[in-house]
Amino acid sequence: MKINFHIKSRYLKLVFFAFIISGCTSTGEKVDFSTQIKPILNTKCITCHGGVKKSGGFGLLFKEDAFTETESGKPAIIPGNASGSEMIKRLHEEDPELRMPYEKAKLSDEEIDLLTRWVDQGAEWGEHWAYSLPEKVDVPTFAQKASLGPENENGFLKNQIDNFVLARMDAEALEPNAPADKNVIARRVALDLVGLPPTPQLLQNFESGTISYEAMVDSLLAQKTYGEKWATWWLDLARYADSKGYEKDMERSIWKYRDWVINAFNEDMPYDRFTIEQLAGDLLPESSTDQLIATAFHRNTMNNDEGGTDDEEFRVATVIDRINTTFSVWQSTTMECVQCHSHPYDPFRHKEYYELMAFFNNSRDEDTPSESPLLKFFTPEQQKEVDKVIEWATRFGSDQLARTYKDFMQFTEPVYKSHFFKDFKSSVYDDHASVVFWDNGSCIIENAYTNEASYVLLNYRSHYNGTKMTIRANDGQGPILGEFTINKTKGNITAQFPIKKIDEKTDLYIETQNNAVAKEINILNLYWVGFVPDLPARDQPGWSDANAAFLEALNANTETVPIMAENPKFMKRTTQLFDRGSWLSKTDTVMPGTPESLNTWNTDWPDNRLGLSRWIVDKRNPLTARTLVNRVWHQIFGRGIVATLEDIGSQSEPPSHPELLDWLSLRFMNEHGWSIKALVKDIVMSGTYRQSSESTPEMYRLDPNNELLARGPRIRLGAEQIRDQALAVSGLLSDKMYGPGVMPPQPDGVWQTVYNGSKWVESKGEDRYRRGIYTYLKRTSPYPSFLTFDAGSREVCMIRRTVTNTPLQALVTLNDPVYLEASYQLAKNTREKDNVGRSIAKAYRMATLSDIEPETLSALMELYQNSLAEFNSNKEASKLFLKFDNQPTAELSALTIVANAIMNLDEFLTKA
């Protein structure tokens, strides 16, 4: 029997091993459900007998379906009795109408044998490995590998990661590669940790032996650029962009979230906290401004401002995106499938999707163009006023009241937004933003709660003086709650008007009258209606001041960032199952809950997003740490330990090093206290990482994806890195951090979005040369050269960027003015008078950190000479080519051509 080299999972080996031991009889080795049976069921049976389709009433996805009575009235599997089990009998049938798999090839003898033995052995239903995490993993040891051991400086075994890797290599009869050269490993580790080549100083210190490898790693981990590099990865997951997406794709100011992520990485915020703050920072007691900013993670969902769209439809789309993204980002699980039906392969039920939805279904954002709730950033003076209000509410009211006031001033929620108003008479919802009232206009807010307030807060814009507004309970005949006059305003304002206190929910009828205005003329636009419990102690001196400060805060014009805020009790939505995933056909009501097949819920947790985030970072969750470890590993090695980054479950690739994945995950949680920096350091300190990536065609043939890790990683750089590196080696790169997105030069006419006046206004000064992470990202039209190098549009969560290799990429680095300017600067910086060879060698060294080899030098010299001849023969050409230079010469032009060629070398574009 020949073992296909590709099926390199230890599981399959086990299968074959089992055969050899058992001699293919139906006794012997215990069959393992997860590794031996589940794969057969998944590939051969589950399409018809799964979670969606259960032909004959028999399903093999959930245990209870497998052992329950089928349509025949008997269970198909009788544990301990294979010959009496219909399932096994059917595998042997000769009649094609009866044989299973139906209308497919017969199972192999090995597969039938395994299934038979499994049933005979009691048909033990196991868990898939992905859904349970071991408590401890033993590190393989090597007695006789002294030459590879730590006492040998060039030895492979640098830390325990290497033991796992070497064990696998041993099994495949492979040897590790030699360590990479110092300049090579320095470039590799700098690109991996900070996304940029090392500074000449750091490189020199390391190459000369002044500092150790570890000291270099520590120094890189401490740099601010570390946060920028790793945030770039996280922002793909968070679908961060500077616009809202969909048709209008208007700007969204959410860059403070991007800056929060950079800082979180730089401060090495533990991953559990990092998770909780992003998913539920608003629900933490006394949440800080930073914790509120963190919740913008889930405000990166798209917002549809297109005319005529139903806000509720797109609010639901947003909630669905949040469920799917949360599970993609933290659990490597594709929940999308479960929206319409139980998962076809993994143990998640249809209902569980909606139980998860119940966690996300009660946030205040409602797909309005304003994107409320928006966290306001007050100036210090404004903040003083805000504090005054909070103090008052604390002093005369309660802490809870103070929080209500604080929240309302900070993000103006909860309020009733006009898109939910109903029964328009001489008034109309003007699509997305406000209700327009005419004379004698009216509408109804259904089932409103006035919070027992004696004031109503209105956000409106009035075009006339003297409009009488009447608010009644129930309907046009109901008792009057308030009656007041509204005068012309300059733009939108928020104002307070007295109403009668009531203490129960009621429909609110709002009516406007202004006889002075002709029919069908817009008198006022009403955006929202809100109620905040009264500011107490009205009789105390200072009340008016405090109340005025409150209104001032509401009307303050500040910078903002969209955040998550939870519905108060009186606004809670119930969550219902969607029949076949359609939001228009709702069925049973569900309560918040997490999938049964994962870790159990701790009843101490609140049943909201905060509880959900605690469940995710509970150490018993089998997927959280593994997911993170796997993806960090992928960032560094270009391949995950589980290659399917999106999916760790029964359909995923088996891990290349299962024990290593678990060991790293346990260490990450228990020993490193969720420190990502510590995890990254473990990985880059390993001998596995520090191997040379030099190889042979035979090695590639043997292990094309470097699954066995018998060589170092070799991967093309990411979109932002390629540009950052070009700017860095040419000395153009700005180290300015944070702030709104910048607009480096891009070709004219790239932005063309309907109904959107926004323009690409080229940034000035150093903003042209900022790192790629700060480049303005408009979803319908991202920065073109990044797109070409596989960056995404960040409309939805992107787990990984598929690396491609296309001619359009060559055109970018050859012709994009960004690269020409960088080439020119590199040429200028490295030029040595009258010594072309030295100039080229210097430029090459600056770009690649390697000393130039004679053949490379002669090839580049030849290019230089040819170019020089061309530029000499046409004096105008240099002027046209080097627009950046006042006195362009043929020599500098030719050297720029050479520098550009260097920036197009595979060596430059690749982390080797």
Binding site: T644, E653, G749, V754, L860, A901
Partner: protein, 503 residues
């Protein structure tokens, strides 16, 4: 030494190109990008989505060139597709779907029975019906109806097959366009052009396999995602070719650089890269060498094909081109040139068909008539030109919008509109196809007396997709890509081939 490496590399390229594209495991395509990104991307993902049994370890021609030509699993009817999308949604009631009864009801309240349970983008309350604003005649031997907004089109009416009752459940532009082009109203799925290019590669290695041309002053509402590659490798996304500025971004050499100089540069880069390959043996390096050569050739081929000035005068007149401008006529001529040169999928978007009646350009009588004038001659010319070159039999032309328009006059804000206009309407609208494998002069599907709903021959967007894939030689149910543990199709879990319009 250099010669030896050169020879080794050449031998390797040849050898590897011979290795078939079929790969070991169905799972492998989801397997990330290791050092050998390309090969892992294409590994095992043959367009049929069938598991491979061949365990050869070599990498395929596709590893080196992801656009290498592949044969479809079934005999194709056409090689290329030209898809003409009227972004904003054209009114079927003024172009092809003649409704004399609607004229009778003009100005009357729309029956409540039609409005119940319906959602409209802008219509509120009870709108009034609006009679057709164009005159209709039966044209050609087929006797199919064409309005007087399209005086040229009647010449080719016998070449096309109409679908009179296409249905979509999306009635906002962005989602509806996404649905029309990716089979899903939400983002993240590959577009039809990306699927086609992924499945078939390109016939011309010097041009992108999937080209997008826009006109009307704006990109489509849904943005670049309507020609995106979704979860397919980004090499399959549409490449936007522009009539102003560089035809493809960064295709022009910088000023002052001659072709010779560029050739030398690329030669030098590739020479050094070959040395790199000798050291690392990473097939990605070979792919890069290939891509740089292709980039060089593309720099010549793209401006050439994008230059309409080189066409003879009578052809330019036939289309009514406006050289130097961004126009639909130019794009139609370009589309012909592109498919003539072997481009797989040419996607045209013409913006400005959203005729609500709120402004003059957006009125159903005046504005729409102008838009029709802009496309009438070019489309007619495109069909005739392809035909006279014998290319029509190898090409599929698809025409349509993202939805249709209501038989009712729009009443946005419950007010009378400034102009005559119609709201978005997805229940039943018209599309047509022409070219290889299409039954000439056919008309399938019928709407009720006022053109509100289908009474027979209702087809879905998925059906349209299934039909396009069928003509390209694919079974839409088998043409899958595994992503996130699931096999995805353009047609999701639906779609039936519309046999009634096939020859």
């Amino acid at each position: 030494m250099k010669d030896k490496i050169e020879r080794l590399i050449q031998e390797k390229l040849v050898r590897e190109a011979e290795v078939n594209t079929r790969r070991h495991f169905i799972k492998s395509c989801a397997q990330g990008m290791g050092g050998i990104a390309l090969s892992s991307i294409f590994m095992g993902c043959d367009p049929l989505g069938k598991p491979k049994t061949n365990s050869s370890m070599g990498f395929s021609e596709r590893d080196l060139n992801p656009l290498a030509t592949l044969s479809p699993p079934y005999a194709p009817k056409v090689k290329s597709v030209i898809y003409l999308h009227m972004a904003g949604a054209p009114s079927q009631l003024e172009m092809f779907d003649y409704k004399p009864q609607l004229q009778k009801y003009d100005g009357q309240d729309c029956p409540q029975s039609l409005l119940e349970g319906k959602k409209f983008a802008f219509i509120k309350g009870t709108p009034k019906l609006l009679g057709p604003q164009a005159e209709f005649k039966q044209e050609g031997e087929s006797g199919n109806w064409v309005s007087n907004f399209l005086p040229h089109f009647k010449k080719v009416v016998d070449e096309v097959a109409f679908l009179k009752a296409v249905n979509t459940d999306q009635f906002n532009h962005g989602p509806a366009q996404l649905f029309m082009h990716t089979g899903s109203p939400r983002l993240g799925r590959p577009s039809i052009g990306a699927w086609a290019t992924y499945g078939l590669g390109s016939e011309n290695q010097n041009l992108p396999g999937f080209v997008v041309l826009t006109s009307g002053g704006n990109s489509p509402d849904a943005g670049k995602s309507v020609w995106g590659s979704g979860f397919l490798p980004s090499v399959y996304q549409g490449v936007q070719c522009r009539s102003k500025g560089d035809p493809v971004l960064y295709i022009e050499d910088p000023e002052g650089i001659t072709r010779d100089l560029k050739k030398n540069t690329i030669k030098t880069i590739n020479e050094i890269n070959k040395k790199e390959y000798a050291k690392y043996a990473d097939p990605e390096i070979l792919a890069r060498i290939n891509q740089y050569e292709m980039a060089y050739r593309m720099q010549i081929a793209v401006p050439e094909v994008m230059n309409i000035n080189s066409e003879p005068e009578h052809i330019k007149q036939m289309y009514g081109v406006e050289p130097g401008k961004e126009s639909f006529a130019n794009n139609c001529l370009l589309a012909r040139k592109l498919v003539e040169d072997g481009v797989r999928f040419v996607q045209l978007f013409d913006w400005g068909w959203d005729t609500h009646g709120n402004i003059r350009e957006g009125s159903i009588d005046l504005g729409l008539r102008n838009k029709c004038r802009e496309i009438d001659r070019p489309i007619t010319a495109l069909i005739l030109d392809l035909k006279q070159r014998g290319l029509l039999d190898d090409t599929l032309i698809v025409w349509g919008g993202e939805f249709g328009r209501t038989p009712m006059q729009e009443n946005r804000g419950n007010k009378k509109m400034a102009y005559k206009g119609r709201d978005h309407h997805g229940d039943a609208f018209t599309m047509w196809m022409a070219g290889g494998g299409i039954k000439k002069g056919a008309s399938f599907g019928q709407t009720d007396d006022i053109g509100f709903s289908a009474v027979e021959g209702r087809v879905s967007v998925h059906d349209v997709h299934a039909t396009i894939l069928h003509l390209l030689g694919f079974d839409h149910e088998q043409f899958t890509y595994e992503f996130q543990g699931r096999n995805f199709r353009l047609t999701d879990v639906e779609g039936e081939i519309i046999k009634e319009i096939l020859a």
